[in-house]
């Protein structure tokens, strides 16, 4: 939100866009941060191939700047020696394009964009190179409090919370991205109007999560479509530090919908998820927030390819459950709360746990939710054409 800047942009005549090129060697920190500070709206900051050893977080606060590397395997921003800041790269301006570079081993989050409207992440990689560890940063790609977000072709590995995390935002597309070895692969939280399309979420604790949490400035998450993703073999033991909401995600969760309104899960390949392909649950912690609805509402699961699931469920009483169901639970798990839960493409196990009750009080039983009416699918999220052009 840069109202002041917008007013002055009209007064100032735009200079011709320049390309500021940064090359490896010398003081990478000063060169890169200098370029990001001196860039003018319309400029391109080009980071040549090579490895850049950084000691501090980088940040960009200029509108309409493109930060472009030589490719996610070639231009590497290395934060192993980071001494301060909560992330590797922080973007706080609008109309920014980030493409073709990698952030490795940042101490906190990888790339965060806050209040950065119309941001494009294209072919970026964020990775913690030591594999899954509790000491890794929380989020890989982290847009928050933003309107119009495009994440296309991102690769994130090793995040101790979520690989791609979109929080408190609106009008979002996450597509063609690959997330593995994270606690949560992709997470859409307290956000509205998101399409998660054609991603690969494999070998995480949980593949794709859609959450709404209480006591936050923006709540009432929902209106999310999860379409044509491959959510398979999410078999990473949970390594999130306790206290975080994702620390409660059970290993082997494919898609997890918690406390949202209007989520459609369709045309996905869901397979090899030891606890469940799709879980639909309420937010179960105690909370004080009159504006918050902890229940799942209008959740539609249909036309997915539901492969093998629930063969090693991380649930209380798993052994008895498996004995009862014959070595494999139904692929969809529901806690029995909420309304408008429609599941047309797979058997459902209703855990029957009342809101406020412990998981241990579950009375699991099969449920048929195939007759529950589901509303029409909403149209795809459309982003400004300039964003789509920037992502080509």
């Amino acid at each position: 939100m840069k109202h002041l800047l917008a007013i002055f942009a009209v007064i100032a005549s735009p200079a011709a866009a320049r390309t500021i090129t940064v090359t490896p060697g010398g003081d990478a920190q000063e060169k890169l941060q200098g370029a990001l500070i001196e860039a003018q709206p319309g400029d391109v900051v080009e980071i040549a191939a090579g490895r850049y050893a950084l000691t501090d977080g980088l940040s960009l606060d200029v509108n309409r700047v493109t930060v472009r590397g030589a490719g996610p395997g070639k231009t590497i921003l290395d934060f192993k020696g980071q001494l301060a800041a909560g992330e590797g790269l922080l973007v706080t301006s609008d109309d920014v394009v980030l493409r073709g570079f990698a952030v490795e081993d940042s101490k906190g989050d990888g790339i965060k964009s806050k209040g950065a409207d119309r941001i494009v992440y294209k072919d970026v990689r964020v990775e913690w190179t030591g594999g899954p560890k509790e000491t890794n940063g929380a989020y890989g790609v982290y847009p928050v409090e933003s309107r119009d977000v495009l994440i296309d072709g991102a690769v994130v590995k090793g995040a101790s919370d979520a690989g791609i995390y979109v929080g408190q935002s609106e009008n979002i597309i996450v597509r063609n991205s690959a997330v593995s070895g994270n606690v949560a692969g992709i997470e859409i939280e307290n956000s509205r109007h998101a399409d998660v399309i054609h991603n690969l979420a494999e070998h995480n604790t949980g593949g794709i999560l859609v959450f709404d949490l209480p006591n936050l400035p923006k709540m009432g998450g929902g209106d999310v479509r999860i379409v044509q993703n491959k959510v398979t073999n999410n078999d990473q033991p949970n390594f999130a530090p306790k206290g975080n909401i994702v620390a409660s995600v059970r290993m082997g969760t494919g898609v997890l919908v918690m406390a949202n309104d209007g989520v459609e899960v369709t045309e996905n390949l869901l397979e090899g998820n030891a606890t469940s392909n799709v879980m639909i649950v309420a937010y179960r912690n105690a909370f004080k927030d009159a504006k918050y609805n902890p229940l799942p509402r209008r959740i539609a699961v249909h036309t997915n390819k539901q492969g093998r699931a629930g063969f090693a469920p991380q649930l209380p009483g798993a052994a008895q459950l498996l004995a009862a169901f014959g070595d494999q639970l139904p692929p969809v798990l529901w806690d029995g709360t909420g309304e408008g839960i429609a599941v047309a493409d797979g058997a459902v196990l209703n855990m029957n746990v009342a809101l406020g009750a412990a998981m241990e009080t579950a009375k699991p039983a099969p449920a048929d939710l195939s007759k529950v009416a589901r509303g029409p699918s909403r149209a795809a999220v459309v982003l400004p054409t300039a964003m789509e052009a920037a992502a080509r």
Partner: protein, 369 residues
């Protein structure tokens, strides 16, 4: 003895009237020195030669002069002697910055005054500047590292860092920030060596932004108000008024003040510039301003949102009665990026601040067994 308050520049200012080179003071010259709460405010209002005056154009013009001396905030840059209308001030509760000493000055152009505001920062007129020099060593032993400027231009505030030369002859513009190895002795007598971070311009804004616009943080009525400071600023014609009922923030290190007031003051100054609905941590839902009434927003029983390993395996930001189970103090006790709070400007643990917050949380009535 290590003194947390800004070193008073009064001596240098008062002794700068060397007849040969000093300012030619008009008959209307007056000098007011008000001692208040350990802070000495010196006002030199005089008709001086232009070279002895602050360069108003440097404050107002676009761009960033390459040296600090270009602004002429100091008549003698090496001695850091303040120029006319450049007035020292102190705060009840300062930001902790790795035990650095700070020398704070405000400049308001001649004929203008800042406007009192009961809740926000004082409303400084266009052309004003806030000048804050960070360094180590008390009194005469003070050695500056950097001087941060906040300049009130027509388009709003801008923030710029200047780093002092090795010979302290001037400070040079460092928009990209830098790191300086520093050794000092902390209040407990422990020798420390740290990599002191001079913020880059974006990092200045990370803390100094409300809804994306740069703003000062320190000079609020409540943090200036020690019973005399606001009145002194009015007497010096820098401030338009100082109402009797002005709010007052506690001194964090005032043993005579209630621990609640001290802890809330500490959080207000060290955290609330980001942890408010319009700040850099707006998405956290954790608001640490001194009068925040919503218990969950203040962190009590609040679960973290995006803390990552900053949670330290703890469930709540503040767990009543249990500092050892509270994320807030866990993050204050860390210097690890990704865990440490504040995220910027701290490479050492503020042991005294942590002790204050731990004591405050421990004394809270626990609702849990």
């Amino acid at each position: 003895m290590f003194d947390h308050k800004s070193t008073s520049p009064a001596k240098a200012g008062a002794q700068s009237g060397d007849v040969a080179t000093g300012p030619r003071l008009s008959p209307g010259k007056w000098l007011a020195a008000i001692v208040s709460g350990g802070c000495l405010i010196v006002v030199l209002a005089a008709a001086t030669t232009d070279a002895r005056r602050v360069d108003d154009a440097a404050i107002l013009a676009d761009g960033y002069p390459p040296t600090l001396s270009a602004f002429r905030f100091f008549t003698d840059i090496k001695a850091r002697t303040p120029a006319t209308h450049v007035t020292a001030y102190a705060l009840n509760t300062p930001l902790f910055s790795d035990y650095a000493e700070k020398q704070r000055y405000m400049y308001v152009p001649a004929g203008k005054t800042a406007r009192y505001d009961a809740s926000a920062v004082l409303d400084f007129p266009v052309g004003s500047a806030l000048i804050k020099t960070f360094g180590y060593g008390a009194g005469a032993a003070f050695r500056p590292i950097e001087t941060r400027l906040l300049l009130r231009r027509a388009s709003g505030w801008v923030a710029i860092p200047y780093v002092w030369n090795a010979d302290l002859s001037d400070a040079v513009l460092k928009r990209s920030g830098t790191r300086v190895p520093v050794s000092f002795t902390d209040p407990s007598g422990q020798a420390r060596t740290i990599s002191y971070a001079v913020p880059n311009q974006n990092q200045c804004k990370d803390c100094h932004a409300l809804s994306g616009a740069i703003t000062p943080i320190g000079p609020t009525a409540r943090n200036l108000n020690d019973g005399a400071r606001l009145q002194a600023l009015v007497a010096a014609k820098l401030l338009d008024r100082a109402p009797a009922g002005a709010p007052r923030l506690a001194r964090w290190d005032d043993a005579a003040a209630p621990v609640e007031a001290r802890a809330r003051a500490y959080l207000e100054v060290n955290c609330a510039h980001c942890h408010n609905a319009r700040g850099a941590a707006s998405n956290s839902g954790l608001w640490l301003d001194w009068q925040q009434a919503d218990a969950v927003a203040r962190g009590i029983g609040k679960r973290p949102v995006a803390a990552g390993r900053g949670s330290g395996g703890r469930d709540f930001d503040i767990d009543l009665g249990h500092p050892e189970r509270s994320i807030l103090t866990y993050r204050m006790e860390s210097t690890e990026p990704g865990v440490a709070m504040p995220e910027l400007g701290r490479a050492t643990v503020h042991a005294e601040g942590v002790a204050l917050l731990n004591g405050w949380i421990a004394g809270m009535q626990s609702t849990r067994k």
